[in-house]
Subunit: 418 residues, 2 copies
């Protein structure tokens, strides 16, 4: 069987399973999630043995320690996965909801019924915990899912798939509801992206080159979780203590994630009084600064930021800093260099807070709060499959509801059109 046939067979089975999982009860779905949770504990040694194969291979390939760390299914990671399953089980089931119905003059009653999307193709990189998180969210929202993780995690992902298969079988739900593509052949992804008769949406999380490849090859609608070049703008009206806390937290609380700040924009009047000390605090925390010309003049040894730096998602203890003449200049900078992910303003001005919220075109825009709040849990969605930086269907963190759509239902009593 060639790779196209293999992937097509997976997708066809997923489509059949999707019809089944669309109609099972919330209790059944939660029961599967609890089964997976139990099995993660019972099969811990099997999972860690399979994971060890990936870790050995990663070491042979000289992958970075950060990458190896993200690959590892430690006891802590397995426990976090298990508690994530309980969290998803505890969330309300979005399927079947009708928010409101309205009656038309001819008497028909019209409403929108929330339904699953169908078959979700999930293409992501290395972290094996995404395999369980994504499967749980897709299943709870009534979708079938085809998971395609990074080649580095293939043994871990197949072991996790075996656990999920057992949990599905225990609950008499077709195993094809959750499938892991069992090959590391890169052509499998390219073939998968063509199967628009079977797969309803592609969700992709990963680096720039993966996202680009998916966009270029997909015949299926894509929701991309693209890079986060996030900005904090400190206005001249900002309360200095609050501004420093928010800037520091946005950068250093967890620098390796997409909602960490990469560029700090500072109003010139705030900069005159407070930027030198703020730069000191960043440096003491271990952050290296790249600055615009004016910033470089503020302290010794600041590297000049290049045009490329303003576009960069460092995911590291590096920060670009630019001094701006006005909020309007900050908003223009964000429009030019940002990635529509997360931007925050620190201000005490009512008018400026409103203008910034309205004019900045990003998935999450905040006033007087850390960029690190762009997260499904933090914003109250319960859990997230990722953060969409594309506007269609969903913009920002995607929870269970964002994995569904609505169809119109109409109750009539014999109405016809005149």
């Amino acid at each position: 069987m060639d790779i196209l046939q293999e992937v097509t067979a997976i997708a066809k089975k997923a489509k059949d399973a999707a019809r089944h999982v669309a109609s099972i009860s919330t209790e059944q779905k939660n029961s599967v999630l609890h089964s997976v949770n139990r099995l993660l504990q019972n099969k811990k040694s099997f999972l860690q043995k399979e994971n060890e194969k990936d870790l050995q291979e990663a070491k042979k390939q000289n992958l970075s320690n950060a990458l190896i760390d993200r690959l590892t299914l430690s006891d802590n990671v397995l426990e976090a996965m298990a508690s994530g399953l309980d969290d998803v089980a505890g969330l309300p089931d979005p399927v079947g909801e009708v928010n409101r119905m309205w009656r038309r003059p001819n008497g028909i009653l019209v409403g929108k019924l929330r339904i699953p999307l169908g078959v979700i193709g999930m293409i992501y990189e290395s972290r094996p915990n995404v395999t369980i998180d994504a499967a749980a969210l897709c299943l709870k929202s009534g979708n079938a899912v085809i998971l395609r993780g990074g080649r580095e995690a293939i043994n871990s992902n197949l072991a996790l798939a075996a656990v999920m298969q057992e949990a599905l079988a225990d609950n008499k739900i077709p195993g094809a509801a959750v499938q892991v593509v069992p090959t590391v052949d890169r052509n499998a992804v390219r073939e998968m992206l063509k199967l628009k008769d079977y797969i309803d949406v592609i969700i992709t999380r990963g680096g720039e080159s993966l996202i680009k490849m998916v966009y270029e090859n997909s015949r299926i609608p894509v929701i991309a979780h693209y890079k986060g070049v996030c900005h904090v703008y400190i206005d001249e009206t900002a309360e200095p203590g609050m501004a420093e806390n928010i800037a520091l937290n946005s950068k250093i609380q967890r620098p390796g994630v997409c909602n960490a700040m990469e560029t700090l924009l500072v109003h010139k009047k705030f900069a005159e009084r407070h930027l030198a000390s703020l730069i000191n605090r960043f440096r003491n925390a271990g952050v290296s600064i790249k600055g615009c010309e004016k910033t470089c003049a503020m302290a010794d040894g600041i590297e000049k930021a290049t045009e490329e730096d303003w576009h960069k998602e460092y995911l590291d203890m590096i920060l670009s800093v630019r001094i701006v003449e006005s909020m309007e200049e900050a908003i223009r900078h964000i429009a030019c260099y940002g990635s529509r992910h997360t931007e925050s303003i620190v201000t005490s001005s009512y008018d400026k807070s409103g203008q910034f919220l309205n004019e900045v075109d990003s998935s999450v825009v905040l006033v007087n709060a850390s960029t690190r709040f762009n997260d499904g849990n933090q914003l109250g969605l319960g859990a997230e499959i990722g953060i969409s930086t594309s506007k269609l269907h969903s913009f920002g963190p995607m929870g269970l509801k964002e994995l569904t759509t609505c169809k119109f239902i109409v109750y009539g009593s014999g109405q016809v059109r005149e």
Copy 2:
């Protein structure tokens, strides 16, 4: 300037204009719509003279009378366009709405703010009235739009574009908010479909080959308005008079449109008692019938439907008829041959109405009402840019709200992540 440069210049200007139209007031947008309305009347002779060029060319090319009819900017068509503009002006502006906000335990206040999509690329076939309808809906929802109609309507579309340019200028809004691609070169569409840095979504309405071409070439998310192979299923429990009215209305009230019925599915018990007379009524109305074997046995001279016929969108006075053993068989037939557009059941059974509404995977599912109600106006959305048969972002008729998305906004008071 080659065609890629030309289309890229249009798209760049649209992106700049999109930032402007996203923030103009409802009054300004309505004022443009009223200006277009006035100009359609004042410039009637200019519009009809330009339209005449297209009609002459169409006659030279021996296009069908139906097509020529759809091309014609008659007084009636122009009046309907004008009153459509008033309707759109009268609809509530979806931009800026925040449905609800919620406070998180740390005190941040979170909400979703409705915003325009940005730049919409609209690719459609021959009817020039779509040019005005689509432009009005895109503008009212705060988007910039690039319109690419059929080559047959190019002179009419450019004349309508000139009218809209004048209306925009009168209201001091950038002309790039509404642009018509000024060339019939087919490569213009292919190039346009690559410009994902400038165009946020492609909406396409037209025949199978157009939709296929768009899907195959687009790097931009596509919302497709694909064919409607719509079904009415008459259950054994149907009230006969109601069933006949709904079946007839669904087919013959306007057979050339996407929400007209193409296939009638009849429970065998209803068929035994009533199908022969229903077929007679269809034939008296001028509809030719293609039937399954059992249907063919019911009356003389019924052509046998082929496998291909069950997939067909006739858009004509032709109807496929199949007798089924059960509602489940009808639902399976729809899943196999339907296009997820519109399906209706006629039944007096409470249980069956619920099962049909839940299990049929179409953009509009009706009980005891004509398929012809799948329409933005009929369902109460006010107006529609088309009917999406793809599930992502919007499924079913797309009104103003479906031309927008939401971003998260957060009001904080200094919160950072622990």
